[in-house]
């Protein structure tokens, strides 16, 4: 015991912490460099990209190492956390490339790059902990950085509005999380998720009423973070108000890490062995999932703004993921499907918002659909990739989105009630209408007589990010075998 107290981090475990440390140090250096408007920029770029690439490669090799628990078991590194770190950092790298250049267009301060790295470190912590208090801290590190990133466009009242909305609602959700953790601690005497299943199975269901209340509160805060109905209301406004690269980062990385947290909670709490009411949670997930799908898809049908359509589609995609979580109660295949779908979805989303940030003009609040008319003629590359990403969302073959949906439905079929699956297929069908509408506007409508709507700023790094995301979406759509095996290995 003394040995552990003196040396909480065994020397052979440092490689797990290295990505986090590298990120934090480079974020701090970025903060110091950001006042030097002209010369600092170059250094910020080099340092951030180097830090991200080195930590991406480190976390990739961490996937294949043995599990590690340290810091009094508050941090636990397993394959899932290393893999999530790998994916989150990759998403972070592309988001960084995407923000680069756009920050000048939208007149952001250079601190946005430091904040992005801070948010990433919060996400890394979030995916590698099983301790409720540490989870809360990680959640706050992530959220606070993002609140500021949303508000970063200082001359726009919409950004401030979005940020304030997000901040207040996020604060309430965090309070729910904390209160729920306190209730669980009061009942079980532990905050460590890994021990909960065992402790719960020692008690009878009547003694666990506080645990039920606490876990419902935690569920609410998670539903808020992933944007599920009826806690979705912040999503459209925040997605629209924030500048597009930040929206892309939120829609991809925040959703990814929140869902990894959700996976951990379902594994260790909601569907853990001793949890007394798994049927209730299943029922809730089914109802909320279906409501989320239908709400997102039906409301998206009537939108005329591209960013709003995509934000409602983001809500709907949260709903599909619940199918996998429900199936995960009975089979590990469910978690695999959720993780695969998440990654595929995250990269498509990032690519889509990168394209939007390229199309959107300086100082423009909305991106109405008719602005896209004639895009195919003037920018066939952008039009083609945007269509490809939209088809990926819609789940049409050749894109990764199809593999994701197929895997999700295969894993859910025969484990969860058939009516849930049939209804979610119906919801997916509804979504086709608005995706096809966007594609139709891009390709099939005549150009508007508008002087130079397509003189786009050249943002080379944004194009790189778009290209990478498109490649990933294509490769995972055609040759997904290696990727699926990796996912299997993670939950193996």
């Amino acid at each position: 015991m003394n040995q552990i107290l003196l040396n909480p981090i065994p020397s052979q475990m440092w490689h797990y912490l290295l990505p986090l440390i590298i990120l934090c140090i480079s974020a701090v250096i970025n903060l110091f460099l950001s006042p030097f408007v002209k010369r600092g920029r170059k250094f910020i770029f080099i340092i951030s990209v180097l830090a991200l690439i080195s930590s991406i490669s480190l976390s990739f090799f961490n996937i294949f190492r043995t599990d590690g628990n340290f810091l009094y078991e508050m941090l636990s590194y397993d394959r899932l956390s290393s893999f999530s770190a790998f994916s989150i950092l990759s998403l972070g790298l592309f988001s960084f490339l995407n923000t680069w250049g756009n920050d000048r267009k939208d007149q952001l301060l250079a601190e946005v790059h430091a904040l992005l790295l801070f948010a990433l470190s919060g996400m890394l912590l979030l995916t590698s902990s099983t301790h409720l208090i540490l989870l809360f801290i990680a959640l706050e590190i992530m959220s606070l950085s993002i609140y500021v990133m949303v508000a970063m466009k200082r001359n726009s009242p919409f950004a401030s509005e979005a940020s304030l909305k997000y901040f207040i609602m996020g604060g309430v959700a965090s309070a729910f999380f904390l209160y729920g953790s306190a209730l669980i601690f009061g009942n079980l005497g532990t905050l460590d998720l890994a021990e909960m299943g065992q402790l719960m199975s020692l008690k009878s269901p009547e003694e666990l009423s506080l645990v039920l209340l606490g876990s419902l509160m935690i569920l609410i805060s998670i539903l808020f973070k992933v944007g599920a109905f009826p806690f979705h209301t912040w999503i459209p406004d925040v997605y629209q108000g924030a500048i597009s690269p930040v929206t892309g980062f939120m829609a991809a990385a925040v959703k990814f890490s929140s869902f990894v947290l959700f996976i951990r909670l379902t594994q260790n709490l909601f569907f853990a062995k001793g949890f007394p009411y798994p049927d209730l949670i299943s029922m809730l997930l089914a109802i909320i999932g279906l409501a989320t799908m239908f709400y997102g898809n039906i409301v998206a049908l009537r939108q005329t703004d591209l960013k709003r359509i995509l934000s409602y589609s983001a809500i709907a995609h949260t709903g599909y993921l619940f199918l996998g979580l429900m199936a995960a109660r009975f089979s590990i295949l469910g978690y695999q499907a959720v993780l695969a779908y998440l990654i595929i979805y995250a990269f498509s989303t990032l690519g889509t918002f990168a394209i939007i940030s390229k199309i959107k003009k300086e100082g423009e609040k909305d991106l109405p659909l008719y602005r896209l008319q004639g895009l195919a003629k003037h920018h066939p590359f952008l039009a083609g990739t945007l269509t490809f990403f939209l088809f990926s969302f819609a789940g049409i073959p050749l894109t990764a989105g199809f593999i994701g949906k197929y895997f999700l439905f295969v894993s859910a079929m025969s484990l969860i009630p058939l009516w849930v699956i049939l209804l979610s297929i119906m919801a997916a069908f509804i979504s086709l209408a608005y995706y096809m509408r966007i594609v139709g506007v891009i390709f099939m409508k005549n150009e508007l007589p508008n002087p130079n709507p397509f003189e786009l700023p050249s943002l080379p790094w944004t194009s790189v990010a778009i290209g990478f995301c498109a490649c990933i979406t294509l490769v995972l759509g055609v040759f997904p075998e290696k990727f699926l095996n990796l996912i299997k290995f993670i939950f193996g």
Binding site: A376, F391, I396, P397, L398, Y406, F407, F409, V410, M413, S414, I421, L422, I425, A428, F429, L432, A433, M436, R437, G440, F443, M444, K445, P480, E481, L484, N485, K488
Partner: protein, 479 residues
């Protein structure tokens, strides 16, 4: 490669040529046309060589996605062969017979080649997932062909088509996923291979649901009443070559699917559900013919007559007798030729008189005798006169439906009479009488390439009509 992997070249040749079209540096449009034509000629030759060498069936399997039980498995049997030759022939004729439009650029040509490759894939796929994959792959190029290069109302009709077919596709996908998972619960592994799936024992309510899951997708694609609503609009809006692909080839994806999957995978359910489908088919025959009677637009006429003709195919399939199914396969081939020929002719007329409407022209026969002659031959084939190809097919189908129930045969027989009525009426309005045309016209008779296309078609029409056994000797297939 050709001896060890005989089927892959069919998929790859169009893809290679499409790559060539995309990246070649020449600015000339005629070069695109040449590449397109040589690709279709090469695939046609290749399919004939397959026809020559086929004994029994060929299966080719490659690993693709073993963790989900999916393999890249292709199978060529006589039914697939019939479809392959049909596809190659129609592609060849339509690329030859439709002069490329000025605004049709390399993307347009590439989409057609992608579509051709996907069609081969659909007809060859021996794995349910792979079939679905190619099925959707065939849809996407068509969406863009119609949506980008179509008529003025293209957006609406494309959206309608997309939503209709995707609704069917999703119901089929549900059925496929269910079967794959069912294979896991019964045999222990995920598998979507056709042969594996055939072995699954299905409980009674599920089996009929999933029969309908597949059948719905196919009925929408053919289309049959009551899912035909997208068809006339789309045929009218599509560019000519797109319309040929839609009516001649993509409709056959549906009928092929009915035979291969609905009947092949669920023979019991097919037997139970046959009356419903036969009723739908018979209704489609008569309804399509009646609607065709009142059309003035040539393309809408073809759309409704297609509805009527494909009713015969479905009718033949669901008599579930060897005779009826053989007749249906004949008819798939024949109708593909007929639709292809009709659209080429409609486009040829349009080039001369700038209209598709029968109200805008009269008495063209006096000015365009050769065109009138080919139109007459096609009309004879459309009304299934003895000696033409359609007679061979429709007679067999009527015969087998008579053995199913005489009343059905009588109803379907009236469909044949109706088809004679509307076809001859249309022919009379366009060709006979004194010459008169509303729009500016540049009258010239058949051009050399049109003569070639039409004579090939005429050879097939009378060849199949007089010697059906020669053409279909290798295609005596039953599921």
């Amino acid at each position: 490669m050709f001896s060890t992997h005989p089927l892959i070249p069919l998929l790859i040749i169009p893809l290679l040529f499409s790559l060539g079209i995309l990246i070649h540096p020449l600015k000339k449009e005629s070069f695109i046309k040449t590449l397109l034509f040589s690709s279709s000629a090469l695939t046609l030759l290749y399919s004939f060589s397959l026809w020559n060498n086929l004994n029994g069936s060929i299966i080719e399997t490659y690993e693709w996605l073993p963790s989900l039980g999916i393999s890249f498995s292709l199978k060529l049997d006589s039914l697939s062969l019939c479809m392959i030759i049909m596809t190659s022939l129609v592609c060849f004729l339509s690329f030859l017979g439709i002069k490329t439009h000025q605004k049709h650029n390399r993307i347009f040509a590439t989409l057609f080649l992608l579509l051709q490759s996907a069609l081969y894939g659909t007809f060859l796929a021996h794995d349910l997932f792979l079939f679905y994959f190619f099925w959707e792959m065939a849809l996407l190029p068509m969406i863009f062909i119609v949506g980008v290069w179509g008529g003025d109302d293209r957006f609406k009709s494309t959206l309608k088509f997309f939503l209709y077919t995707l609704f069917g596709s999703l119901s089929m996908l549900m059925a496929i996923i269910f079967l794959v998972v069912q294979h896991k619960t019964q045999m222990g592994t995920l598998s979507s291979n056709y042969l594996d799936v055939q072995k699954i024992i299905l409980a009674s309510p599920y089996a009929s649901w999933f029969f309908w899951g597949f059948t719905l997708a196919f009925l929408i694609k053919i289309p049959q009443f009551p899912f035909h609503n997208w068809q006339p609009d789309l045929y009218t809006q599509a560019p000519p070559a797109g319309a040929i692909f839609l009516s001649a080839l993509m409709a056959k994806m549906g009928t092929y699917g009915l035979l291969r999957f609905s009947i092949g995978l669920f023979p019991e359910q097919a037997k139970i559900m046959a009356p419903i489908l036969i009723a739908l088919a018979t209704f489609s025959i008569i309804y399509g013919a009646i609607c065709a009677w009142s059309q003035t637009d040539f393309r809408r006429l073809i759309a409704y007559s297609s509805l009527s003709h494909s009713g015969f195919i479905v009718l033949g399939l669901f008599t579930l007798t060897p005779l009826g199914i053989t007749g249906a396969i004949y008819q798939m081939f024949n109708h593909a030729l007929l639709a292809c020929a009709m659209f080429i002719l409609a486009h040829a007329l349009y080039e001369r008189v700038n209209s598709y409407s029968s109200d805008d022209m009269r008495g063209l026969a006096s000015k365009l005798p050769w065109l009138a002659l080919t139109f007459f031959i096609l009309t004879l084939s459309a009304i299934s006169l003895p000696g033409t190809n359609n007679f061979a097919g429709e007679f067999v189908i009527l015969l087998s439906s008579f053995s199913y129930h005489p009343f059905i045969a009588i109803l379907a027989g009236t469909g044949v009479i109706f088809s004679a009525l509307y076809s001859l009426k249309f022919y009379r309005k366009l060709m006979l009488g004194t010459y008169e045309a509303k729009f500016a016209t540049t009258l010239f008779d058949l051009r050399p390439y049109e003569i070639i296309v039409m004579s090939i078609l005429t050879i097939f029409i009378f060849g199949i009509g007089l010697f059906p056994s020669f053409f279909f000797a290798k295609m005596q297939v039953l599921p």
